[in-house]
């Protein structure tokens, strides 16, 4: 269990049994020996880690290391792929989410996701956000309009789009589209926001806006972000997990990972010697 939480945190002590019951420092997301197979190929190898509430946790590692696959376990998006088998445990708020008796709809309401390629619906800006609200029962147009505005403000997009909410979302720039996707995700008030390389297709200025937004959003949401950009990880994340070939190599505070990594592979990766 040593790896479940960053081992050398000075601010918060590792959880003990007592803490677990009081629920204060229990990680919000917790995996235990989580393995995932595509057919016979093992993509994740017994990963155990815990992610705290209202911090930004970054997953880094070379392409194909399993970090995105791992992220997609948290909202069961891997269910969409044929021949995927998962073993071990993944708990959110203490409740295992991997069983077949889990209501994935309810899970995905609590665990939102933003994808690498912005994927707004070919609908109006308003309807993009209203879609999720309607799915979960919203009918009142006025209340919906308020939530749309709040979400767009939350995603730092309101001022740019407030006069054209009825225009197609596809007319927005790439960075705006991605912020719209963030607005859409936070509109249904999830607790956790998963971000799979949200800025990798964006130019530096749009990337900067997304990063500022993430720092702002962590006041309300627990954010887990996959990134290829190491500077980005250092700028926005509190904790960083380094993955390599389906294994969790090292997990610690971002500062430690980038200044004083304990494993040679981590050091090689963060200093740019491979990857």
């Amino acid at each position: 269990m040593a790896e479940i939480l960053p081992s050398r945190l000075t601010v918060e002590s590792p959880p003990s049994a007592g803490d677990r019951e009081s629920g204060t420092t229990v990680p919000l997301i917790e995996t235990e020996k989580l393995s995932l197979f595509y057919g016979r190929a093992q993509a994740l190898k017994e990963i155990s880690l815990g992610i705290r509430e209202r911090v930004v946790t970054a997953f880094i590692g070379p392409s194909g290391c399993g970090k995105s696959t791992f992220l997609r376990c948290f909202n069961r998006m891997n269910d969409l792929i044929d021949n995927v088998r998962v073993s071990g445990h993944c708990r959110i708020g203490g409740e295992d989410i991997l069983g077949s008796d889990v209501d994935v709809i309810e899970l995905r309401k609590r665990v939102g996701m933003v994808f690498q390629r912005s994927n707004p619906f070919p609908k109006s800006i308003f309807e993009n956000i209203a879609y999720g609200l309607r799915l979960h029962g919203a009918r009142d147009r006025k209340a919906m309009a308020e939530t749309v505005e709040r979400s767009l403000r939350g995603a730092a997009l309101w001022d740019e789009v407030k006069d054209r909410l009825d225009e197609s979302a596809l007319g927005l720039s790439g960075g705006q589209q991605q912020r719209l996707c963030i607005a859409r995700a936070i509109a249904i008030r999830p607790e956790i926001l998963l971000m799979d390389e949200p800025a990798s297709a964006l130019d530096p200025i749009a990337t900067m806006k997304i990063e500022e937004l993430i720092l702002d959003l962590k006041k309300e949401f627990t954010i887990v972000i996959v990134t290829h950009n190491m500077q980005q990880a250092t700028r926005i994340s509190d904790y960083t997990a380094f993955f390599y070939l389906g294994e969790l190599i090292e997990y610690d505070s971002t500062h430690r990972i980038f200044t004083n990594p304990q494993k040679k592979q981590t050091e090689d990766y963060v200093t740019g010697r491979f990857g």
């Binding site: 909202n75 998006m77 969409l80 044929d82 709809i105 309810e106 995905r108 309401k109 939102g112 996701m113 994808f115 390629r117 994927n119 707004p120 619906f121 070919p122 609908k123 109006s124 309807e127 879609y131 999720g132 799915l135 979960h136 009825d166 225009e167 197609s168 596809l170 007319g171 996707c181 859409r184 995700a185 249904i188």
Partner: protein, 310 residues
């Protein structure tokens, strides 16, 4: 000054290939133009108000008195009814094949193979299938259950002809819809599911609406194929001569395509009725183009909406 980048080579292969593509395009256009011009030349003089609005109460084999309104109504009715049947069934099948079925499973491969084979079946076979399944079995069963002495449904009818055409055009709609569904970015499905939508909600609210232009392409192809078909309706609903236009789904109907067939094979005087024949062909083409035009316009509107403002 010597130029370093002056063109010195003539690429014969490229020129020949470009020429060949242009020539084959021109050939197609030429064939189409020839057909249309020939038809208008032979049939244009027949087109008159009397011809397109008149009925069969006067002699339908007399070029000066013949009217084909019943045939226009019959053809339009069977094509529209067919569309009502083929689109829901075809789209549902395509949704099953692309969204639910596992692509590599034997059952999926079997269904896909069956659909492709259906496309290769000659249309007369669909006509025979229509007689056997729709008229004898379905119609006969309805008559049996309602206990009529005289067949009311177990006979050729507009409904059975339309259904037979729907079966015939199913592959076209299925394939076109499947292509449209496959072309939708997987990211859209993921976005919807990640927001907590069920698979059904995702299909109903995101996937199918975005596939609508492709579905309409399927409808256009189905209409084009069905409008000119005679064989499937020959035994299942079309009539040689009727006094009335169809009033109910179990009425028989007169039909433009079948009328062309009648005029070219069973006319009392083939030479004399030839203008009616070509006139009917021109009207059939015009009707087919108009039905297609409606679908094309709807499709263009949907595409515009998807791209621009909502």
């Amino acid at each position: 000054m010597t130029r370093r980048f002056a063109k010195t080579r003539f690429d014969a292969t490229a020129a020949i290939f470009t020429g060949a593509t242009a020539a084959s395009t021109l050939l197609i256009l030429g064939i189409l133009a020839t057909i249309l011009l020939y038809l208008f030349w032979r049939g244009g003089s027949q087109i008159s108000w009397q011809f397109v609005t008149g009925g069969t109460e006067t002699d339908m084999f007399d070029p000066s008195k013949a009217g084909i309104l019943p045939m226009i109504i019959g053809t339009a009715a069977r094509v529209l009814l067919m569309t009502l049947f083929v689109i829901p069934i075809g789209v549902t099948t395509a949704v099953y094949l692309t969204e639910y079925a596992r692509t590599t499973a034997p059952l999926t491969r079997f269904i896909r193979g069956a659909v492709n084979n259906l496309a290769g079946v000659p249309s007369i076979v669909f006509g025979l299938f229509g007689v056997g399944f729709f008229i004898s079995f379905l119609g006969g069963s309805i008559d049996g259950l309602t206990g009529t002495s005289e067949p009311r449904w177990g006979k050729p009818a507009l409904l059975w002809a339309s259904m037979t055409l729907a079966v015939m055009t199913l592959p076209v709609v299925i394939v076109a819809t499947e292509e449209a569904l496959k072309a939708i970015a997987p990211g859209l499905r993921e976005a919807s599911l990640a927001l907590g939508a069920t698979k059904l909600e995702t299909i109903w609210k995101i996937v199918v609406p975005n596939a609508l232009p492709g579905i309409l392409t399927g409808a256009i192809l189905a209409i084009s194929r069905a409008a000119g078909e005679v064989a499937p309706i020959l035994f299942t609903g079309a009539a040689y001569f009727l006094k009335d236009t169809p009033k109910a789904l179990n009425d028989q109907f007169m039909d433009l395509a079948y009328h062309v067939y009648v005029l070219s094979t069973q006319s009392p005087n083939v030479d004399l009725t030839r203008p009616i024949l070509f006139g009917t062909v021109v009207v059939l083409l015009a009707l087919t183009f108009s039905l297609n035009l409606v679908a094309v316009l709807v499709r263009a509107k949907i595409r515009r909406q998807m791209r621009a403002a909502h």
